[in-house]
Assembly symmetry: C2
Homo-oligomer: 391 residues x 2
């Protein structure tokens, strides 16, 4: 690692380069050619976009997870000096490549865990945009990062905000994670019963992928962020508060033991936290639009309604219980969101499915990596069986 040397051009691997964070990360990187080079790009299924990106950013390596697309990828890039691989194993191996300085983990869901573990073991800094990794296995990640002296740099705007407000000399009393409240903040419980996929996919402040947009609408995403924050910042559950802030201008806050609160603010723009994760502790000059706070009519803050947004309450429960419970919650939620997106269950039934799965799955107090894998699979089976009974 050469993170302290400004003359060294950092080599970046982006896992999930065709997603929302991945594409924005590529823009950020291309704005600072004196700082960064794209070393590797990986994608799941979006082979055509991956081809475009490979042609534009000329990485050393591209990997497509779905091996069906390997011939197409090879054909399209045959005139370029780019190494081409396919499959989940290849993604993991690429993370270990010698020249890589930072691995940006921007893939969706549980699939981010294995490559992240491999990257940490290879001594790569992690720019963490795959929150499920920390939700599922934060304890293992932390231990491994500590052992290999690797920095975990948050990319989520909320965790970046907290990270930006930390002080070396002073412990945190608590953090205040802000939540937009999503499109259903003002809906009654009755109205929530009948909301459909199209409504849930319209987020008021952020444009993101389908999974995370549904998770935002259900506040599951905020619940995952709570668990992520616990591991990233070494907090006890009672040190984490969620506050609904519909304007998404205050990206989160920290409170020190003297009572002083610090907040990070800005327009909703993921490029800034991506850039900060890649350059920390330095800040580069940008020409991103600046916030004019006088143009915001007012900033509002309210307590979240845990009766309406049960997924958030379930995340606090899972965090309190610890062990493999967040892993179970995450697996059940991946099944639930998929089912909701295919109109198999209603919006509020997602919480029923999570609760059912958390109740039925085997609880393990101190899981190791294999236990997480088994828990993840068991939880998916239980959730699937619940769904099958419904139809």
């Amino acid at each position: 690692m050469n993170s302290g040397n400004t003359e060294h051009i950092k080599q970046i691997a982006i896992l999930g380069s065709t997603g929302s964070i991945g594409t924005q990360a590529l823009e950020v990187i291309s704005e600072h050619p004196e700082e960064f080079q794209v070393y590797a790009l990986t994608a799941n299924n979006q082979v055509e976009l991956l081809i475009k990106q490979a042609k534009k950013y000329q990485p050393e390596i591209v990997v497509i997870a779905n091996t069906d697309y390997l011939p197409r990828l090879r054909e399209a890039l045959k005139d370029l000096p780019i190494k081409i691989y396919a499959g989940a194993d290849a993604i993991e191996q690429v993370c270990e490549s010698g020249p890589i300085d930072i691995v940006l983990t921007a893939m969706v869901g549980y699939s981010g865990l294995r490559p992240t573990l491999r990257a940490i073991k290879a001594g790569k800094s992690i720019a963490l945009a795959n929150k499920e990794t920390m939700v599922v296995a934060g304890e293992i990640i932390n231990e491994l990062a500590h052992k290999h002296q690797v920095a975990i740099l948050p990319v989520d705007s909320e965790h970046s905000a907290i990270f930006q407000c930390l002080e070396y000399a002073n412990p945190l009393e608590k953090i205040i994670l802000t939540a937009s409240g999503g499109p259903f903040r003002k809906f009654s419980l009755e109205e929530l019963r009948t909301v459909g996929r199209e409504q849930a996919l319209k987020h008021p402040n952020w444009a993101m992928g389908a999974k995370i947009t549904i998770d935002s609408a259900s506040m599951m995403n905020k619940g995952f962020e709570v668990i992520e924050a616990k591991w990233l910042f070494g907090l006890r559950p009672e040190q984490i508060e969620v506050v609904v802030h519909p304007q998404s201008i205050v990206h989160s806050m920290v409170q020190f033991r003297d009572g002083s609160i610090k907040a990070q603010l800005g327009l909703p723009d993921m490029k800034l936290p991506i850039l900060y994760a890649l350059t920390y502790p330095r800040r580069l000059e940008t020409h991103y639009p600046r916030l004019d706070i006088t143009q915001i009519a007012s900033l509002e803050f309210e307590k979240p309604d845990l009766k309406k947004f049960r997924n958030l309450a379930l995340a606090f429960t899972a965090m309190d219980e610890g062990g493999n419970m967040p892993c179970i919650l995450n697996a059940a939620n991946e099944v639930a969101v998929e089912a909701f997106l295919h109109d198999r269950i209603a919006f509020l039934q997602m919480s029923d499915l999570l609760e059912y799965t958390m109740d039925k799955a085997e609880f393990i107090k101190r899981p190791d990596y294999e236990a997480y894998t088994c828990s993840d699979q068991q939880a998916r089976r239980i959730a699937q069986a619940y769904l099958d009974k419904l139809s």
Copy 2:
């Protein structure tokens, strides 16, 4: 100095101990006997309160500026092992006392300058609550502090907020000083013409001395804070923005060159910035009431109206012109506030008086200490002559 040694008990001198900041500083100090001891207390005229404080906090030295009160002070404290002095010279000399670690400058107005200079020359850290010092002679203070390797630690809640948000590695793009807007924020220019002393003395959010409360009502105080910030944080005038924020929850903000904004928030309570100035970079645990952001209906921000609050515009003018102009502005304002408090001029006439004095007083581009003293006196004479013509 032993500021890095946590076992050393810091010896504090409070200049202006009977004022609002002084009395709160004594509370802060008495809450942390393991950290601080009161070494010296000084006051202007409030001898009875000074006696009470001396009995309670048992300093080594007390000084009363007004020599008329020396006999009373001596009589009241004759049974205690406290050294007693009187007069402005004594205050300056006390600042140099060997054991003092930090001098808290909490006196009112221009009178703070000389003792502050003496304390810096003697190598004492300055907890700066006397903003006029920086307004009048920021350049000299900075040079001297640099030469003697002395820290200037801001106590004003706005400057403390900025100080708390600074990052070692990253320069500021700009700062956003928040202003409550005072009691007359919603008044029309017509209504402002007839506001009286009693109205101006009622500040919506902060309980302070008379001078600073009037300065807050006229936004002169915010103007001085602008100039103070320029010197404290090494800013160009165009890097300083004032935003009216009626709730006084966000105490100020900074913007870095990547566009990220950081803010410090809290309930309006001067004890926290006082404590931080005395313990920086550490934060001590406190039991001060915590802000519950969900209890604040909303946070609002608007541009200040410089037509209504001309004093703020005059401060920007004085800062832009530089040299002795802020000194002239400060001197004229001390005369103006005194005249307003004695019903000699109307609220808006204070701005006329300032403008007149800034126009008539001799401009000096590069004043030294003596030049400041002469400018201060000349500006007071000009302002007084203007007042005399009115009556």
